[in-house]
Amino acid sequence: MNNLNKYKDVFKECFNVTEDQLNETLVYNSIEEWDSVGHMAMVAELEDVFDIMLETDDVIEFSSYTIGIEILKKYDVEV
């Protein structure tokens, strides 16, 4: 599975969203599931899937589906 599909799967699994919701409008708190608890679960899942450890500053900055893709580049994960 390529990184994009892995990335999408994390969002689908953590936030119970569908493929068509995975775009720039998917941002923190835009859906009920993406609250602070959901955010930490998503971060932990990404860390597991890509074997990385996000810095706290990046956890805070990770405010949308698209920004997340940029943040992962810092950890040598090209989505």
Binding site: S36, V37, M40, A41, V43, A44, E47, D48, M53, E55, T56
Partner: protein
């Protein structure tokens, strides 16, 4: 055994209360990541003997909790060892103090870094590793000094009071993730830290006269209280600061 199969991260394992917690947890079946600032022959030997005696896995991880970079490296090491953590005991701390009007900002910063900022950061990362635990528990070692007033302990007291507030707030935030957060506030305990920090023998004698049990705590008595909060025996307790002080009544 109360902690059979669980994985515990304990800081400040090389002496006093931390060493007692490590011993008690190992005897209760926990696999332990034993954190300390630096390796010594004595500490390594103690861990090896304890591991042989109990059959649990004990792995030392060395870092200075006051240094952010070292904490982050330690987390990476811990994550490689055990991707899921069940218990975190934030025990590492320093005492030794001055009266308020004679306290330099450096002294306050030093206490805050070791007693509060370091555990704050470590917990932030360990919580992410607790997500898959079925019964996660964080136990912070604070102090009765956070509630009581002792002249000449300003920076220590302030750092531990912050840790108590942290305990309650984080318990509130992490409850929905099924992570419990509590604190043990020990009274004066028979440790090197107390004997080094409290050089006034008269103070300790007078203090004990105010204690219902008329003696200082033994480290293993504090450790047993930590065991209670770390184990499933306290599964409905979170956000609490438990004083373990021998019954301190100022009469």
């Amino acid at each position: 055994m109360l902690l059979s199969g669980k994985v515990a991260v304990i800081t400040g394992c090389n002496r006093g209360i931390g060493k007692a917690i490590t011993t008690v947890f190992a005897k209760q079946g926990a696999n332990i990541i034993a954190c300390a600032r630096k390796s010594t022959v004595e500490f390594e030997s103690y861990l090896t003997n304890l591991q042989n005696e109990t059959g649990v896995q004990i792995t030392p991880v060395y870092f200075d909790i006051s240094k952010e970079d070292e904490v982050k490296l330690a987390i990476k090491e811990i994550r490689k060892l055990f991707p899921t953590i069940d218990i975190l005991v934030n025990n590492a701390g320093i005492a030794g103090d001055t009266i308020y009007q004679m306290t330099a900002m450096e002294t306050l910063e030093e206490k805050m870094k070791v007693n509060f900022y370091g555990p704050f950061l470590l917990t932030q990362y360990i919580v992410k590793l607790m997500r898959k635990s079925t019964a996660a528990s964080i136990v912070n070692i604070t102090s009765i000094a956070a509630d009581d007033s002792y002249k000449g302990m300003i920076s220590y007291t302030v750092s531990k009071a912050a840790f108590n507030a942290f305990t309650k707030t984080v318990a509130n935030e992490l409850g929905s993730a099924n992570i419990r957060v509590n604190a043990i506030a020990p009274g004066f305990t028979e440790t090197d830290m107390v004997s080094n920090a409290v050089t006034n023998e008269e103070f300790l004698t007078q203090l004990q006269s105010h204690l219902a049990l008329k003696r200082l705590a033994r480290p293993e008595e504090i450790a047993n209280s930590v065991l209670f909060l770390a184990s499933d025996l306290s599964s409905y307790i979170t956000g609490q600061i438990l004083r373990v002080d021998g019954g301190f009544f100022n009469d």
